[in-house]
């Protein structure tokens, strides 16, 4: 409950803890048309080909219909009144953590977020020692030494145009879907990562990201390329509750893994999920896809989805290279009036390709949680293998859990195994743990963590602990 209040306070109308709504927007027209798209490109000083890319996407988008096939209902965004470009915001600075809403701090503390980081997350000016710029610099140096390019996508467009040109839109084509087309037309910023041949990225691309890339805007664009024999692990998001004034988030993430390359992409998403009655909250409509282009390559998605009012997201892998491996590990928690329709697609094209899907959905409150997945073994995918396990847990009697797995095989040498179960947190389990001294909330948290264990262990170490706590906080008071 405290989290809700913290968030409500955070986005509350009065902003009594010093947050200010009058973020400085440049004078930019609302709504969208070709001129607006051109203007965005111009503001970002983009080369002609990038402008063309955006315009092509825009033209595709206006022809497309907003999808409605998923298991969620919500007020459609009003595209003609959105503001599609905003200049980097000047975040108000507070003098010390004492100025931050104590409830927000309480949440940070529960999550165990380090003090200095708490400051950054809550907009307190940080001292020189732990300055984000200095971190940025030291990371940059280390990465540069290894030859890894890691920068914002805007910088990449300027500095590495050939790489961006070659790969952007190659995994998620402009016309892929309604929101991907919109993103391609108006994307704000995001990350670009290029790991050259025979290189193992020397660090998790996470800590840096967590601090610096908080404000990529509502149309985030990420592109990660791992060349032959390279490896990279990337984490986006953070456990701390994130507030964003944009209701619609339509990101696109593209991953390209060449021969023997390995990309691990982890997400922790805890955006504002709206109040008890489903008012407010973020729409999180993301297109994430990776391609295992080279033989023996591997792409692994891990996600912990706890926030947003509506989440529609299916991180997918196209297994093109022979012997390539795709993985999807997911925990999706919905509470209150949240709706999540999430899952993955594993498209087997190459020989001996292998995919694993482990999905854990937890529904509480009056929420609805859907797993939607597709596993496809195409005609030429000799000896392809898939194993899927989709478990749902319901807490209370007013929520729903849904499973929509689409499974297809066109090759007799392929093998697909899919299992799904539904269970609940039992009263007897809670009593047992309480008898051993745990409070009811801790008992639930422990049971839920046990349920999600196989997925949580895939998260980078430093986030696993926070993730554990986050689950507990999300479900506080949901039984009883």
């Amino acid at each position: 409950m405290s989290e809700t209040k913290a968030l409500e306070a955070m986005i509350g109308e009065e902003y009594k803890y010093g947050f200010s709504t009058d973020v400085e927007y440049e004078d930019f027209p609302k709504g969208i048309n070709e001129d607006v798209v051109r203007l965005i490109s111009q503001k970002k000083n983009e080369p002609e080909w990038m402008t063309e890319f955006r315009l092509k996407a825009y033209r595709a988008w206006i022809e497309m219909e907003e999808p409605s096939w998923f298991n969620a209902t919500y007020q459609k965004p009003k595209f003609d009144t959105l503001q599609y470009y905003s200049a980097p915001k000047n975040k108000p600075k507070l003098d010390s953590l004492d100025d931050v809403d104590p409830k927000i701090r309480e949440t940070y503390e529960k999550l165990g977020i380090p003090l200095e980081e708490q400051k950054m997350l809550s907009g307190v000016a940080v001292d020189a020692v732990f300055d984000s710029v200095s971190i940025f610099t030291s990371f940059k140096e280390k990465l540069a030494e290894a030859g890894v390019i890691f920068c914002s996508i805007s910088e990449a467009v300027q500095n590495y145009p050939e790489l961006v040109k070659k790969h952007m839109g190659s995994v998620v084509p402009i016309r892929d879907n309604f929101y991907a087309a919109l993103n391609s037309a108006v994307f704000s910023d995001g990350s670009f990562c290029y790991v050259p041949k025979d290189t193992i990225c020397p660090m998790e691309l996470s800590t840096y990201f967590r601090i610096n890339n908080m404000n990529s805007g509502q149309f985030e664009r990420t592109l990660i390329i791992a060349e032959d024999n390279s490896q990279v692990s990337y984490l986006e998001g953070c456990t701390a509750p994130m507030y964003d004034e944009h209701q619609l988030h339509a990101a696109v993430v593209e991953l390209v893994a060449m021969e023997n390359a390995e990309i691990k992409y982890s997400t922790i998403q805890n955006w504002y999920s709206g109040d008890e009655d489903g008012k407010g909250g973020i729409y999180n409509f993301v297109t994430k896809r990776g391609i295992c282009k080279g033989d023996n390559s591997k792409i692994s998605w891990t996600q912990l989805e706890t926030g947003s009012a509506v989440t529609l997201k299916y991180p997918s892998v196209i297994l093109k290279g022979d012997n390539s491996v795709g993985e999807f590990f997911s925990v999706a928690v919905t509470n209150k009036m949240q709706q999540a329709d999430t899952g993955t697609k594993m498209i087997h094209l190459g020989k001996n390709t292998k995919s694993t899907i482990i999905s854990k959905g937890i529904s509480a409150g009056r929420s609805n949680n859907s797993y939607r997945g597709q596993v496809k073994i195409s005609k030429k995918a000799e000896n392809a293998r898939n194993y899927s396990q989709c478990d749902s847990m319901l807490i209370g009697q007013t929520c729903g859990a849904h499973t929509f797995p689409y499974i297809e095989s066109a090759n007799p040498t392929g093998k697909i195994e899919h299992e799904a179960t539904t269970s609940r947190v039992g009263e007897e389990q809670i009593f047992y743990l309480q008898q051993r001294g745990l409070s009811e909330d801790d008992a639930i948290s422990l049971i839920v963590n046990g349920f999600c264990k196989e997925v949580l262990k895939e998260l980078p170490m430093e986030f696993a602990v926070e993730a554990n706590k986050l689950l507990g906080i999300k479900l506080e008071g949901s039984v009883g």
């Binding site: 009263e427 389990q429 009593f431 047992y432 309480q434 001294g437 009811e440 046990g450 349920f451 196989e454």
Partner: protein, 257 residues
Amino acid sequence: MLEIKDLHVVVEEDGTEILKGVNLKVNKGEIHAIMGPNGSGKSTLAKIAAGHPEYEVTKGDILYNGESILEMDPDERAHAGIFLAFQYPVEVPGVTNTTLLRESYNTIANSRGREELDPLEFDDYIKDKLELVQMNPDFLERSVNAGFSGGEKKRNEIFQMAVLQPKLSLLDETDSGLDIDALKIVANGINQLHGEDDAVVLITHYQRLLNYIEPDFVHVMIGGKIVKSGDKTLAYKLEEQGYDWLEAHAKVNGEAV
């Protein structure tokens, strides 16, 4: 330490009365055995003392160290030192024994103002306790009771008791489902854990556990009441004659036994 006064208890869901006026007094350092046929209310007595939400007290009181605990949550009772060894230990998939015990130990330690143990210290601490019930250390990394045999589950309960060091232990049919070797191990564990400052209540259907643990008092429960109390010789008599004579006795004497 524990005083139960005229306790009446019903099943919350349908109002069926299970306990119909139970009186019991357990002092520090004592071992009590509560025996009785199936359905007599023995297990309910243990569960209600631990605060099981399925039951409701309609009359009477449970005092622990002189104070009523009826309003306390199950975890608060655990903090106060009440331990229930479950007749049917619950499975918690994905949660390892170590995790559960460390969480439990530290919350209880915390509430009693003791130092919490960090994972390394805790590891050392529980290794000793393992030996008490002769359990293999890889047992610690298995999920709580999940896939355990009946005997393993029961031994796990006593192991948890050893780790948590309760003041009052309610052992609900801990002997059922154990072969003779396991029974000896469990009994030995209980004997070693028991001391002058704590009390043990054994709930059992059979007398055989009492061959290994010597109770100070034996109570017989029939139809939701304690109909007879005595010393350990009462247990021998029950073993020889069964419960019939007491049931008949109870009938003759009506509700007043």
